[in-house]
């Protein structure tokens, strides 16, 4: 398949999935649970216009279902794009924010914040994304630092060193989170555990705006770097030979991936496998050129989590499943399949 055909195919898939995403968002807001059953309100937009935003029904739509639908899209887009970039940088199809310990760092920072409940009050909503971002960046820097010390010499990173460092950092963060959680009271423990299992709950519009703006800035940086990220397919030496400052780009793109992971975790908790499943599906649909896959991955990630969250919200209504349960149910078989393919190819 020629490059121009792949570009056209990628654009067609992006457009198609974007339309599906619009439909999924509309359905996510239209579907709700009432007295233990599922209700479908196809006229939610007109009823909102008629009622204004003063009625209880309007408040449920405007401040509960709609922000949650938007949050699920942002979470999916952030995690999927972070996974796409990490897999491209490490040239490892199994690399995702979770494997590299970046989401663990973000989760730890937010759990640490919840351990100080006085800080997480109404006026401190903005602290959650900032904490997740800081935790993800901290874990990212730690992984890069350890990976560099295990590198191939000259302060350079080896792919294997990076992945092993990620596993160590992830285990360390998980241990610290467990240590903090045993000291939580039952209510906070339940809330935090559900969030850690991948739960998109109540989200403020202000928080969504902040996260969306930061995610957009990160995406633009990656899009501008896309043709240089493609050069990592030549290996680090090959990328340098075609004019890419490979080591600087590797560090910056890894940090931007940490940012996206932190933003995703701040809204959706430790939602696993999105950064693994979506990039694989996208590469199968449209090839591996970052210039055409970055947007498609964001749309596909948003669609996956938007649909999964709607199902998680309604499947056991009035109880809610953490959306992470559903993504894990899809992701585990995918991971097993990928591992099998890798082992058959003779990967160590």
């Amino acid at each position: 398949m020629s490059a121009s055909v792949r570009t056209r195919r990628s654009m067609a898939w992006t457009l198609g999935l974007a339309l599906l995403l619009l439909l999924a968002t509309w359905l996510s807001i239209a579907l709700g649970s009432l007295r233990g059953g599922v209700v479908f309100e196809p006229g939610w937009l007109s009823s909102l216009t008629a009622d204004g935003d003063g009625s209880l029904h309007a408040k449920v739509l405007l401040f509960w279902r709609a922000p949650r639908a938007v949050a699920s899209i942002i979470v999916g887009a952030c995690l999927a794009v972070a996974g796409l970039v990490l897999q491209g940088l490490t040239r490892n199809p199994l690399a995702d924010p979770y494997l590299l310990g970046i989401s663990g760092g973000a989760g730890l920072a937010v759990v640490l914040l919840h351990a100080l409940p006085a800080l997480v009050v109404d006026s401190g909503w903005w602290l959650v994304p900032i904490a997740a971002f800081t935790g993800a960046q901290g874990a990212g820097l730690l992984v890069l630092g350890i990976g560099r010390s295990w590198g191939t010499g000259g302060g350079r990173l080896s792919v294997l060193g990076l992945l092993l460092a990620g596993i160590v950092v992830n285990a360390f963060c998980a241990a610290l989170m467990s240590f903090l959680l045993v000291r939580f009271d039952p209510f906070r423990l339940r809330i935090t555990t559900l969030w850690l299992a991948g739960g998109i709950g109540f989200t403020r519009w202000e928080q969504l705006m902040l996260v969306a703006l930061l995610a957009l800035a990160a995406w633009i940086y990656l899009r501008i770097s896309a043709h240089r990220l493609n050069a990592f397919a030549l290996g680090t030496t090959g990328a340098v030979a075609v004019g890419v400052d490979a080591h600087r780009l590797l560090h910056r793109a890894a940090l931007v991936s940490s940012l996206l992971t932190g933003l995703g975790v701040s809204l959706g908790g430790l939602l696993g496998y999105v950064g693994l499943i979506v990039p694989h599906v996208v590469r199968r649909l449209a090839g591996s050129d970052f210039r055409s896959t970055l947007l498609l991955t964001a749309v596909a990630g948003g669609l996956l989590v938007a649909v999964a969250d709607t199902v998680a919200r309604l499947a056991l209504a009035p109880e809610e499943l953490p959306v992470g349960v559903l993504t894990a149910l899809i992701g585990c078989p995918v991971l097993l399949l990928l591992l099998r393919v890798q082992l058959r190819r003779g990967a160590p």
Binding site: S2, I224, H227, L234, G235, G238, V242, G243
Partner: protein, 236 residues
């Protein structure tokens, strides 16, 4: 008589990984000239080539490409003047031949990385020069070792540089493929006035395929002309 400025001028060069492995290396190459670098293992052949490519820091001396000091150039500016093919083939086998060759245009692309007609032409010409047009949409894991090496060379041609540095370009190829690759390089030198610098292991091959040979040994670097009496008739 017109004087053609040298494409590559190396003066008192010292290079190595931290400590100097080679020092006081000087030579110059004119446009269309080919130089082979030979020497025993560990003599510093690859280190010299990687330093010339800007992949290793220069420990001393100067490198000028078309009269411009290489150390003063950014990575992109350098890649527009010097193409380098490493010994290790670390290319993702999932790429197609065309996708690989397109990566050679990386230093010429703008902010959003969209290729223009000039980029498409350069890729088309590089594929055609390496007789790869028909294999353009084939995956790298579905072609032979010789075709794959030709695809890598086509990528460096798409970079449109005057100087091409090749680190052991024929290693792992059988005799027939080696001859084909050298024929290709020879025709590219003639058609494009490419200046070639190749690390080779085989001494007769070096004398046959280059205009001059840089021999690296314990006594340092010495430049030997590959005069006709040194040449061995082509095999087959």
């Amino acid at each position: 008589m017109s004087h053609t400025p040298p494409t590559l001028e190396v003066a008192d060069l010292s290079c190595g990984h931290g400590a100097a492995l080679l020092s006081q290396v000087s030579f110059s190459l004119s446009r269309g000239e080919a130089l082979a670098i030979v020497g025993p293992n560990g003599a510093g052949k690859t280190t010299l080539l990687r330093t010339l490519a800007g992949q290793l820091p220069l420990l001393g001396g100067t490198i000028r490409v078309d009269g411009v000091d290489l150390t003063r150039l950014s990575a992109i500016q350098r890649a527009r003047r010097v193409a380098f093919l490493s010994q290790d083939d670390a290319v993702d086998p999932g790429l197609t031949v065309e996708e690989l060759v397109q990566l050679g245009r990386t230093p010429h692309l703008g902010l959003w990385g969209r290729p223009g007609p000039r980029d498409d032409n350069a890729v088309g010409q590089a594929l055609s020069a390496c007789q790869l047009t028909e294999l353009a949409h084939r995956g790298l894991d579905h072609i032979s070792g010789g075709e794959r090496q030709r695809a890598r060379i086509a990528m460096t041609l798409a970079q449109q540089t005057a100087l091409l540095l090749l680190d052991e370009p024929v290693t792992h190829l059988d005799l027939r493929r080696r001859m084909e690759l050298f024929e290709l390089l020879s025709s590219l030198r003639e058609q494009r006035q490419l200046t070639l610098l190749m690390v080779l292991h085989d001494l007769p091959e070096a004398y046959r395929e280059a205009d001059r040979v840089l021999v690296l040994g314990e006594a340092g670097a010495s430049l030997v002309p590959a005069s006709p009496e040194h040449r061995i008739p082509p095999l087959g």
